[in-house]
């Protein structure tokens, strides 16, 4: 059975990536683990854009440009998040979200 040129296959994969990212967000107990899980959510969105770009869009460059935009956003988000986590770890000696959720001392 050929499933690789069917739009619904890619949409289901993207939905599963979103769900896995959500699960990791809830389940992980460290900020870096939550950051890793958020990458899955962003990748699910980008895969969705690319699937619609290939199968339904009139201009096949738009989806690629948007997926590239998402990659740039994810890189910027990861840079900022990693530096925030380093600062938080320096100040609290801990990166458990349950301990640092007060955001001040």
């Amino acid at each position: 059975m050929i499933i690789s040129d069917n739009l619904n296959t890619y949409l289901i994969i993207a939905a599963l990536l979103l769900v896995i990212g959500l699960y990791g967000m809830i389940q992980h107990r460290s900020l870096i683990g939550m950051l890793i899980s958020s990458e899955f959510i962003l990748n699910g969105a980008a895969l969705n854009f690319m699937a619609f770009n290939t199968f339904t869009a009139p201009n096949p460059a738009v989806g690629q440009i948007y997926a590239l935009f998402i990659m740039g956003l994810a890189a910027a988000e990861a840079a900022i998040a990693v530096s925030i986590i380093i600062v938080v770890y320096r100040r609290f000696r801990n990166e458990d979200p349950a301990i640092i959720q007060d955001m001040k001392y």
């Binding site: 499933i3 699960y23 890793i36 899955f40 460059a61």
Partner: protein, 174 residues
């Protein structure tokens, strides 16, 4: 010709398995470094899916930006932060597993029900192709704003992360 189709299909299944195995490794592993390796494996699988969708450019960019830059940056963040042995014993513990699985299943079922009832019609006419030349022309002419926004966001992120992480080990800003 039909043999090539079957090889491509088998590769598609392989990339799909790679994506989900990596993702499960990333969300379920105790050590954070294993989670980063799982993230890298999963992103490689997604690069293969982009290849199947016809975009060589995005597949290469996925490997370059995500696997090459973002994963390395997160690994650096892990090494600069907590030590792995401290995190291993408390990571993935004490959270409500049933609630997490239930909420994720609810989200997935809602999405699945939506997309199984919707028919997506292909466009009446398509202009251009998936080539890197067409993407480049569109990116620099018609969708120039996206290009400029990416550069602006990356510049802001670089400056912001330098300012945030500037101080020494004791947190004092020199």
């Amino acid at each position: 010709m039909i043999l090539y189709r079957y090889i491509a299909e088998a590769l598609f299944y392989a990339f799909m398995i790679l994506t989900f195995m990596g993702a499960f490794m990333a969300v379920r592993s105790q050590l954070l470094m294993h989670a980063v390796i799982g993230l890298a494996v999963s992103l490689l699988g997604i690069a293969g899916l982009y290849f199947h969708l016809g975009s060589t450019f995005l597949a290469v960019m996925q490997v370059l930006i995500y696997v090459g830059a973002v994963c390395i940056m997160i690994a650096m963040g892990i090494m600069l932060g907590n030590t792995p042995s401290q995190l291993a014993e408390k990571n993935l513990k004490g959270r409500n597993l049933l609630l997490a699985i239930g909420s994720c299943a609810a989200v997935f079922l809602a999405l699945f029900a939506t997309l199984s009832r919707t028919g997506f019609a292909p466009a009446a006419e398509r202009i251009g192709d998936m080539s890197i030349q067409f993407v480049g022309e569109n990116l620099l002419l018609q969708y120039c704003l996206a290009f400029e926004l990416i550069s602006l966001i990356l510049l802001t992120a670089i400056i912001g992360s330098i300012i945030l992480a500037r101080g020494g080990r004791d947190g004092a800003v020199k």
